[in-house]
């Protein structure tokens, strides 16, 4: 058992990833020393991943509005109108570090997380993509990571039943110690049945759904384990295991429940599950939240409040329900054999209160947990563009055929069939253009409309010139979508960079965002969702700046879909553009 009244030492604060001035901020905010559970909650809410403290300032500069945008950044996923009362819901998210530690499960749970983001909004997932970056093919860990990641993405998506229709794979030594696994998912919903995370109404039941809570991924694992428990190493696996079957049940149950009109608000439990989801739902709705952790379905005995608040167990959701529909809602979840438990209620006092065994384990101001999170304007330096290459300095190859073969055979250019043949890209029966084209095309069910999807970025361009590289990524995505015959609608982004505390890295980040923003503005291609992954560094070696862009386009008439294959002999070939 982890005692709640443990002394909060500077070491403990540091192990929670909080800087001394951030801890001071906590003390000022609550006017006393936090309990251990409260410290854990702050560490979860104020880490880079949840608070976006280094990136927020810059993300605000991105264009996020457009005539078709129904929901921009700030929810589980972005929502874009595609006419006829329907919307496409999509987002991309990274699972880089977990995939490096345990490639199969890390990638699998990454897919699971992004699918949940989409169906939490009320959308049935219809397509998935993934952007993967690995170390040099000759590096000793690369083969292991590649095969695990690809199998994990397939293992989860294939079982869940979403077609994985596109993505990217690159190799570069800068990813030797930090692979990138960015998962994209898109779903379809009716525009009048989009579900958001904002809680409404005082005294409403807060319901826990899905799988049970275990000690997965509790990041305090390193936290002075000897002090608490001798076998804590064994007790706290930091790796989350995916259960695609559980998630498939959760999808069906959620969509069935949403159709009953019982749901007021819903939020997926992602990183720092219970903490982030409960705080977000309350804070957005200007409501307090009270949780009784004794009601939370647990997989293991003797879990403490601290562990439950920080658990990253997968396939879980939090919902605010209309009280009169509670029985009906519970029946739906029982039918799908999932856990359903009322674990708390909304209050009118804007406090976040947690009880365990009848004891108050934490009592924090709910708005401040999010709003008062530190925000940094980190120093940055502009990336110096490299001196232009003198074409004369590169000798012309004398055997162009050999060069062509070498290009085609290179790890970055060769066919990706070995990857996408491990993904079920046909399930649901709507795949019109399969992987291997510019953009994949999926039919909007029961209609003659289609959606085009493409995922793009060229990290070496971003390394050379972040602004131009950012623009290029957007432009390439736009071209791929256009080339399939679709009208580009909007994008999601996944910004992967090194340590933002280094001004050169921050400069890459700022540059790429500027480039992405300018290109999206110019093309009327708004950013409706996204994710930032920083600190992708090992031993001081940062990854190449890798802002992956996931774009979605609309084909009003599938009969006008364009494909890459040449269609007949003797036809003229044109080059368009400069």
């Amino acid at each position: 058992m982890i005692p709640n009244e443990i002394e909060i030492t500077p070491e403990l604060v540091a192990e929670h990833g909080l800087k001394p001035d951030e801890y001071q901020r906590i003390l000022d905010l609550i006017g006393r020393t936090p309990t251990l559970t409260e410290l854990g909650i702050f560490s979860a809410m104020w880490n880079e991943h949840c608070s976006y403290k280094s990136s927020k300032k810059w993300l605000r500069t991105l264009p996020t509005k457009g005539p078709r945008v129904l929901q921009g950044p700030g929810e589980n996923a972005g929502v874009v109108d595609i006419g006829d009362g329907e919307a496409v819901v999509f987002k991309m998210e990274s699972h880089n570090h977990p995939s490096y530690i345990e490639p199969y499960q890390g990638a699998a749970t990454g897919v699971g997380g992004i699918l949940r983001d989409v169906f939490t909004m009320g959308a049935r997932p219809i397509a998935a993509m993934n952007a993967l970056r690995f170390g040099a093919p000759t590096h000793e860990r690369t083969r292991h990571i590649v095969s695990g990641v690809v199998a994990g993405i397939g293992g989860y998506g294939n079982s869940f039943g979403v077609p994985t229709v596109g993505g990217e794979v690159n190799f570069d030594p800068s990813y030797n110690g930090n692979c990138l696994v960015n998962a994209f998912a898109a779903g379809l919903a009716d525009t009048d049945k989009i579900f958001l995370s904002e809680a409404k109404g005082v005294g409403m039941p807060i319901v826990y759904l899905g799988s049970k809570t275990g000690r997965d991924g509790i990041h305090g694992a390193t936290m002075a384990s000897a002090e608490f428990d001798d076998d804590s190493e064994e007790k706290r696996p930091t790796v989350q295991i995916g259960d695609p079957f559980g998630e498939k049940l959760l999808l069906e149950a959620c969509l069935e429940l949403m159709a009953t009109g019982a749901v007021i608000a819903i939020q997926d439990m992602g990183a720092a599950g219970l903490t982030c989801s409960a705080v977000e739902m309350g804070a957005k709705g200007n409501l307090g939240v009270e949780l009784d952790l004794d009601k939370v379905p647990c997989r293991e005995e003797g879990m403490t409040a601290y562990e439950m608040m920080l658990s990253e167990s997968q396939e879980r959701m939090l919902m605010v329900l209309h009280p009169e529909k509670q029985a009906e809602a519970e029946a739906v979840f029982r039918k799908w054999d999932l856990d359903f438990a009322v674990v708390g209620k909304t209050t009118d006092d804007l406090r976040f209160r947690i009880f365990r065994h009848g004891e108050l384990m934490g009592d924090l101001p709910i708005k401040e947990l999010g709003d008062e999170a530190p925000e940094y304007d980190r120093p940055w330096v502009e990336t110096k563009p490299p001196a232009p290459l003198d074409p004369e300095s590169v000798p012309a190859p004398n055997d162009l055929g050999a060069v062509l073969l070498k290009l085609l055979g290179s790890p970055d250019m060769c066919s990706r069939r070995w990857v996408w043949e491990q993904y079920d890209h046909l399930v649901q029966g709507n795949t019109v253009v399969r992987p291997g084209s510019d953009a994949a095309v999926v039919r909007v069910k029961d209609s003659n409309k289609g959606l085009a999807f493409s995922l793009d970025v060229t990290p070496r361009y971003c390394t050379a010139d972040p602004v131009q590289g950012g623009k290029q990524a957007v432009a390439e995505c736009w071209r791929n979508i256009t080339a399939s015959g679709a009208e580009p609608l909007a994008v999601t982004d996944n910004l992967n960079f090194g340590n933002p505390e280094k001004p050169e890295i921050m400069g890459q980040f700022v540059g790429c965002i500027k480039g992405i923003g300018e290109a999206c503005e110019a093309l009327a291609f708004p950013v409706v969702s996204g994710n930032v992954s920083l600190y992708n560094e090992t031993n001081g070696q940062a990854i190449m700046p890798t802002p992956a862009i996931g774009g979605v386009g609309l084909i009003p008439d599938l009969g006008k879909t364009a494909t890459t294959a040449f269609k007949g002999e003797g036809e003229a070939i044109y080059v368009i553009g400069e």
């Binding site: 345990e102 275990g214 997965d216 007790k235 706290r236 696996p237 790796v239 295991i241 259960d243 997968q314």
Partner: protein, 80 residues
């Protein structure tokens, strides 16, 4: 020399397979069988004749290949 290797999930690691099996047992009327945890089992033959060396070899192979020590434990049984 023959040996058996048993690989099990560490405590606290989610075991969706075990959960599903438990559920099916219930439906089949085997409600009295519970706490199902699924693991892997391997039989191997070693050319090494010395038990101590054989065990050392297997330990090494378990760490590198048979078990994913991030989430799994392993046990070795040598036929001596």
């Amino acid at each position: 020399m023959k040996a058996r290797i048993i690989v099990t999930l560490k405590n606290g690691v989610l075991d969706p397979q075990g959960k599903a099996i438990e559920h099916a047992l219930g439906q089949l009327g085997f409600g009295g069988i519970g706490d199902v945890r699924q693991g892997k089992y391997f039989e191997v033959t070693l050319s090494e004749q010395d038990p101590a060396k054989a065990r050392a070899q297997l330990e090494d192979a378990c760490k590198k290949l048979f078990a994913n020590t991030v989430i799994e434990n392993y046990a070795i049984e040598l036929d001596v």
